[in-house]
Symmetry: C2
Subunit: 427 residues, 2 copies
Amino acid sequence: MHDMVRPAEEAAQLLEQYCDRLPEMLDWLSQFGKDPEGGVTRLLYSDAWLEAQQALRQWMEQEGLEADFDQTGNLAGRLQGTDPSLPPVAAGSHIDTVVNGGRFDGALGVVAAALTLSYLHTAYGPPKRTLLALSLCEEEGSRFPVTYWGSGSIAGLRSWESDGHHADKDGVTLLEAAKRCGFGPDCLYRAPSLEPHAYVELHIEQGFVLERTGLQAGIVSAIVGQHRYEIQLQGEANHAGTTPMRWRKDTLAAAGQMIALTREAALREGDPLVATVGSLHASPGVSNVVAGGVTFTLDIRHPHDAVLQKFADELLQCFAQIADTEGVRFTAVERLRAAAVPMHDRIVRELEHICGERGLASNVMPSGAGHDAQMLSAICPTGMIFVPSRHGISHNPAEYTEPEALKNGFKILSDILYQFGYGSVDL
Amino acid sequence: MHDMVRPAEEAAQLLEQYCDRLPEMLDWLSQFGKDPEGGVTRLLYSDAWLEAQQALRQWMEQEGLEADFDQTGNLAGRLQGTDPSLPPVAAGSHIDTVVNGGRFDGALGVVAAALTLSYLHTAYGPPKRTLLALSLCEEEGSRFPVTYWGSGSIAGLRSWESDGHHADKDGVTLLEAAKRCGFGPDCLYRAPSLEPHAYVELHIEQGFVLERTGLQAGIVSAIVGQHRYEIQLQGEANHAGTTPMRWRKDTLAAAGQMIALTREAALREGDPLVATVGSLHASPGVSNVVAGGVTFTLDIRHPHDAVLQKFADELLQCFAQIADTEGVRFTAVERLRAAAVPMHDRIVRELEHICGERGLASNVMPSGAGHDAQMLSAICPTGMIFVPSRHGISHNPAEYTEPEALKNGFKILSDILYQFGYGSVDL
C-alpha cells in the first residue's frame, strides 16, 4: 500500500514518535485561553485565539510547513507537492472553543493534521499532491451568532457582507473584531477560497457510542440532517383551585403529552433517529395557575433527510391532534433546517480498509453533531474520523480522550493522507 | 321568617335601595390604590391600604356602626345587640389586594357586610345579637410572605412573634411596616382576638362554574384541602445529536409523562378533584442538550382530605415508576399541606333555604381557593356565599361581577345575618 521512501520499520518507529507527541502538543495548545474554571476558552478574534493561531503558525513553520493566514484568520500549513497540477487535500479542524470547553474539541484535528504532515514529510519526503493542515478560525458560534465562519468562508457559504454585522454580547461586530486582529476584507492576506480535492477531519466523537460498544474508531457515514422547531401553545391561565379539569385549556398538560410522544415515537422509529425537547418555558409559571402559554423546542436529527422529514411531519401532526383535544392553539415555527451531508463513499471505504489493516475495531456511524466537514462538503469530497469521548462528555473541562485513542486517530489520519499525498487515491 | 319591625313592603324597598348602593360603594373603595394599569393595588400597611381602612372606618361610623381597629389593623364595625350574653356574629372579608388586582376580591365582602348591618339597623332597629362587619387587614400574601394575617391573627394562627419578622422585597419587616401605620403589639388598639358565634363571608367565585352552569349563587360546602409538591428529577445532560434515545436519562421526557398522567388521573377521578402542574424549569434548558434536571410543581386539591391523600399517594407512586423506567432520580418535596375546612352544616342549610325562598338558582359547591373563612373556622362555625365571576377572571383588572349578582349576594347575606341577629338561628 505504501510507497516506501524509508524502510517500513523505520517509518513505523517514526510514526510512534510522532504519535507520542500528540498528547503533549494538545496540552501545549490548551494553555492558550486556559480558563480559571479548568477548561479552555478561545473565542473568535479574542486575545487567546490570536495567540493560539500565531503560536500554531510558528510551530507549523518549525515543522517544515509553509504557513499563512487568509482574510478571516484561517491558518493553513502547506506541505508542497511535486505535482502542482493535482489539487490539494486538506485536513484539520477548528481552533475556537465554547466558553469553558475542553482541550480536544477541534484542537485534536488541528494539531493532528499539522503533526501528520510533518511526519509524512520526514518519513517520505515531499508528496506528489500538496497537503494542507487547516486551523479553521471559528466553528462553534460561541462569540457571535455565526457558526462555521472559517469553513463556511472557504466554502462560499459565509461572507463579510452577509455575516460581518453580527455582534457579540458587548455589541462588537464580527467585522470590527476581525480588523482589530489584523484580519478582514481589506487586509493583505489572501481571500479564504480553496479548491481542495478532498478534506478529512479527525475529531472526538462527543458522544459515548464508541465507548459503549467498545470500538476504537468511528468512520462517519454522514453528518445528520437537523430540524429544529419552536412549538408555541396558547391556552387559558385559569385558577388552579377553582377551575374544573374538564374546562381547562392547559398548555403544560398538552405539552407533557407531546413531549412524552416525542420520546415514544423516536424510540419506535429506532436508531439513528434522535428527537429532543431540551427547553421549555411555561407562562405564567406559578404553581397555582393553569399554564396559559407554553413554548418548547423540538430538535430532530437523522442522516437521511427523507426519513427525518417524514418523522417530523407525522410528529407535528400528532401534536396538532393533542392540541385540538386539549383545546389549546398550536403553532410550530421552524427555526433551523440543515440538510444531511453524506461523507464521500470512497473515503469511507478507504477509512474502513485502513482500520482493517491496522486491526482497529471500528464502525461506520453518523455524526449527530455538526462539523466543519459539512460546510466543506459543499466544495469537495469529505470524510471524518471519530475517536472515543470518555462518557460522551464535551463542551466541558471534563472532555477527555485516552492517549491511545488519540494515537489511533493519528495513525488513521496519516494513512489516508498518505494515500492522497503519496499513493494512488484519486476521487 | 322575619320579625317585622317595618312593614314587609317597606323593608323590601329599603333593601333594594341598599342593594343599589353596593356597586357605587365598590367603585368608591376601588379608588384607594387605583393602579395606573387599571386595577387595584392595596398592599398591607401601604399608604393606599391605610387610607382605605381609615375611609372605611369613617364610612362605617356614618352608617351608624361603632368602628375600631385591632392591633394588626383589622377594622370592625359593630352593630350592638340588645342581649350582651349572645356572642357576636361577624361578616366581612379582606381589604388588601394582589398587585394590579380587581375591584371585587375581598372588597365585596367588606362593603356588603357594613352595608348589610346598616340596612338591618335601619329596617329593624338594633339586633338581639351583636353583629360585626369586618375589614380584615390582609389575606393575599402579596407584600409579605404571610397569608391570612388578619383572620389568622384573630384565630390565633398568626402572631407577631412567629410572623412579624417576615420581610417584603425591600427588606421591610411586617412588624416595622405595621408600626409605621400606628399598629403593632405595643399600640393602644385592642388585641386581635374575637370569640364569634359564627362568621359568614360573601365573596366572588374566582372561577366560572356558576357562570357555566347558569347559577346565581354558590353555597360553599368546604374549602378544599390542598397539597403542593415540588418534583425534582435528576438525569443526564447529554448531547441531543450524539446520544442515542435508548441511552438517555431525559428528565423532560420523564416529566412530560408525569404531567400527562396528572391530567389523565385527575379526569378519571372526576370532579371536584383538581390537579395542576403550573410551573416547570428544565436545566440546562437549551434546545440541543438533553435536559439533565427538571423541577416542576404539583398542586392537588379536594374537599375531602382522605380522597386527596389517596390520589396524591397513588400519583406519586406512578411518578416513581416513570422515573425508574426513564433512569432518572425522583424526589417529591412537600411544600404545602392545608387540611380541608368544611363549612358549618347548619349554615349551609340555612343558606340553601334562603336561596330557595328568594327564588335564586344556587348549588352547594366546594371553594377551590383559600379564604379568610378557613382561618376563622378554627374558632367558630363559618359559611361562605359565592356570586359569579365573569369568565372566572380574578387577580386581574378584568375581574367583574354583574350588579344584579352583587345584589343577589347582598340579599342572601342580609337574610342570614337577620336570622343570626334578629331571628332564631343558634348554632
